[in-house]
Amino acid sequence: MRFKTSIRNIQTFSTSLSTLGKVAWVRLDDDSVRFTIIPETGTQVWASLSIESIFEDYTIQSAAPNNTINLELPLPPLHRALKSAINATSASIRLTKKDGVPVLSLTIITNTVSSGNSAGGFLNPANADPFGDNVFREESLDANMGREREAIVTQDIPIRVLTADSVEGIHEPRVREPDAHIVLPSLIQLKAISDRFTKLAMATSYGGARGGASSTASVPKLELAANMHGSLKLSISTDSLNISSVWSGLNNPELDPRQLDGENPENHPSAKLKAAGQDAWSTVRIDGRDWGKVLSVGRLGGRVIACFADEHALILYVYLSNFNDGVDDSVLTYYISSFSV
């Protein structure tokens, strides 16, 4: 079993994932990388990325078909380890064993910022005296100053290698055909307003008791609704407060006929909702804090299509087209279930 690659772009990617869960199931094979996060409560993420979008010089080899390797990867250490790579000149990752424990070993070559200015150079007290014996030793000083100093940082992330059997039973959630699909507005704007609504509702419904409500049940739910005429409505209501915000002029993308299994597009639930007019909404209720974490995917800059299954679930498809000029083979899918009233 071999896995070795250089990494690129992975920083923002890990940032977005690590907010949602502590552990990811990672499936690597010849064609793609899949990250799956299934937390006990909250949003499931199924991300499928093209190799080139996050890796370079990718080598994978295993006994399984398609050279598949399944790993269980803790996200906070991954995220922390990748921090070391921020100013790196190169960063690579490989699967290995250390002391019998499997790890993903991240090797980062980074220049030390204080190159040429560290204690070996002029700061050395021995060289500080302009009249001392060392004043003419320019050769050695130059050698120190001109040299780019490299630090090699190795970060070992503990992992578990999963057998094919153990992941066989894990499937993407099945959700019925959505009633509405709509391209979301700027996620940063949506997130700012959502977070504001959540805070307001928490402050007003519990007499300002902040943060104390840790269980999701006690947090007021955001109501998110879309119609098939380009509108998205975000609202929240408590005993003392009822606010909503509406976006209009958004795009309801056409369904791809190939995905309808030969069904008549006219019979699709979204066609019915569209026919029902502008006042026909498909609504879901979601946890405000969880939603805020989901929206952090906005930093990846992808296009986001939200699919509403009325009173049932919300699915976000995040297409990372900027990673791979126009080819939509990197998609993050978020499954968010709706709370009942």
């Binding site: 070996g120 090699i152 190795t154 992992i159």
Partner: protein, 450 residues
């Protein structure tokens, strides 16, 4: 009549605050010791494995006056112990940034200490003059306690390196949270700093293992560098981080001195008028290059945190009423220090002839007997004694020289006892006494036990 009076400029106040923050990472109490020309702030952590001290010399202060109570102030000392949080809340970080809060900016800070022994009028008084004539006065109570100073014998420390505090900070930033040990290792012109944890986990727990981080750098990063090759020296990564986070607030050079595992390591650096010294206990071993710091073998070694307070109930003081007052920790300090050598591992080639590796080990069978007062004549230097009047000629713990010579003569116990207590002569202690051991060596556990 104040014993001590000093004035701080806003800038010095900020530096004092930084120093207190750093001390707070070691202990919740800070010991203050004043003599005629300097003020020393110290903290010793609860497991007595790390000691931090900041010495402020006269030029740190706008004004510094130590009056003392007797006829000859230049030989006197004033000691006290204050809850660090109380000081921190007085010297809030605000002082460091006059631009941010112009209206409440601090203009100067006067501190006076009144010591009305026993009259209840002992107070640590801090007056902070702010802009617009606002004067804040704080009166803090303090405990009159002699500080304990860890001893470090420079002469026996053959390994030395120095490095810019900024560079050190860059290194430390790579370390993830949750690790316990830092291994420093030198081979082939490269220095490795490894942050790791020895906990062995299985199943799902494996994923909770903290990041194992190694940074390999050229020795050119260091200013001075004379370190024995292939020597693993291990300190607490948390203590190291605390030190680096303070050192990096100053553009300075941090210097490390150490000899061998199970002996203390000293880290020092200085700023204008401020001298910082840290003494940390080390573990580790001089192993071949093949062994990684977290190798299985290593994991199995008895851990080495001194378990000082482990069993107060098991104490068997030879004479109950002779129990020393608040300085009882001084006893435990030494008691703790000694058994460490038991924990140390053989360094395959005795790295330096000056150190007798064998002596770091206790005879298995009768190690506890070492503590027996009966044998005290032979090993006087290792006895724990309370120096009451400062007149005693017995070799007590507060005689640094005694210890050093003791070290050269008998390397038996004090391979470790160099983190050692010094009590103060003027402390109000009972007459010189010898205390029986309060804990069996076999019951002592190691540095990173939990």
């Amino acid at each position: 009549m104040p014993v001590l009076a000093f004035t701080l400029s806003p800038e010095s106040l900020g530096k004092l605050h930084d120093a207190l923050v750093c001390l707070g990472k070691f202990s919740e109490a800070v010991c203050i010791e004043a003599v005629h020309d300097k003020l020393t702030l110290t903290a010793l952590n609860s497991s007595k494995s790390a000691y931090a001290s900041f010495t402020l010399i006269e030029k740190f202060f706008a004004k510094y006056q130590f009056k003392g109570t007797g006829a000859n102030p230049s030989r006197e000392k004033f000691n006290c112990k204050i809850y660090n949080k109380a000081l921190l809340s007085v010297f809030k970080g605000r002082a460091t940034d006059p631009m941010r809060e112009k209206d409440t900016a601090i203009e100067r800070c006067d501190v006076t200490v009144e010591d009305g022994e026993g009259t209840g009028k002992s107070r640590f008084i801090i007056k902070i003059a702010c802009r617009h004539g606002v004067l804040k006065t704080y009166r803090l109570t303090f405990e009159s306690v002699s500080p304990m100073h860890a001893l470090f014998v420079k002469e026996s420390a053959g390994n030395v390196w120095s490095i810019s505090s900024r560079t050190l900070r860059e290194f430390v930033e790579h370390f993830g949270p949750g690790t316990e040990q830092l291994d420093i290792y030198f081979e082939d012109g490269r220095v490795s700093l490894t942050s790791y944890t020895e906990k062995i986990m299985s199943g799902n727990e494996v994923l909770k293992q903290p990041l194992h981080t190694t940074i390999a750098v050229d020795t050119l990063e260091f200013g001075e560098f004379h370190v024995e090759e292939k020597l693993h020296i291990v300190i607490s990564v948390k203590d190291f981080k605390s030190i680096v986070s303070h050192a990096s607030t100053i553009n300075t050079t941090v210097k490390a001195l150490y000899s061998h595992p199970s002996n203390p390591m000293q880290l020092t650096y200085s700023d204008e008028g401020l001298l910082s010294e840290f003494i940390l206990m080390t573990t580790g071993e001089g192993r071949g290059a093949s062994a990684a710091p977290n190798s299985r073998a290593n994991s199995k070694r008895p851990a080495s945190r001194p378990a000082l307070e482990a069993t107060p109930s098991s104490k068997k003081p030879s004479n109950p009423e002779m129990r020393p007052p608040s300085t009882s920790a001084a006893l435990s300090l030494n008691r703790d220090a000694a058994p460490r050598s038991k924990v140390s591992r053989p360094s395959p080639p005795p790295p330096q002839p000056s150190i007798q590796t064998d002596a770091l080990f206790f005879p298995e069978a009768d190690d506890d007997r070492r503590w027996d007062p009966v044998n005290s004549d032979e090993e006087e230097d290792e006895m724990l004694l309370w120096d009451a009047g400062g007149n005693s000629v017995v070799a007590t713990m507060n005689s640094g020289k005694g210890l050093q010579s003791a070290e050269t003569q008998s390397q038996s116990i004090n391979g470790l006892s160099r983190i050692n207590a010094q009590t103060n002569p003027d402390a109000s202690l009972p007459q010189t006494q010898r205390l029986a051991p309060t804990q069996r060596l076999s019951g002592i556990r190691g540095m990173f036990d939990d």
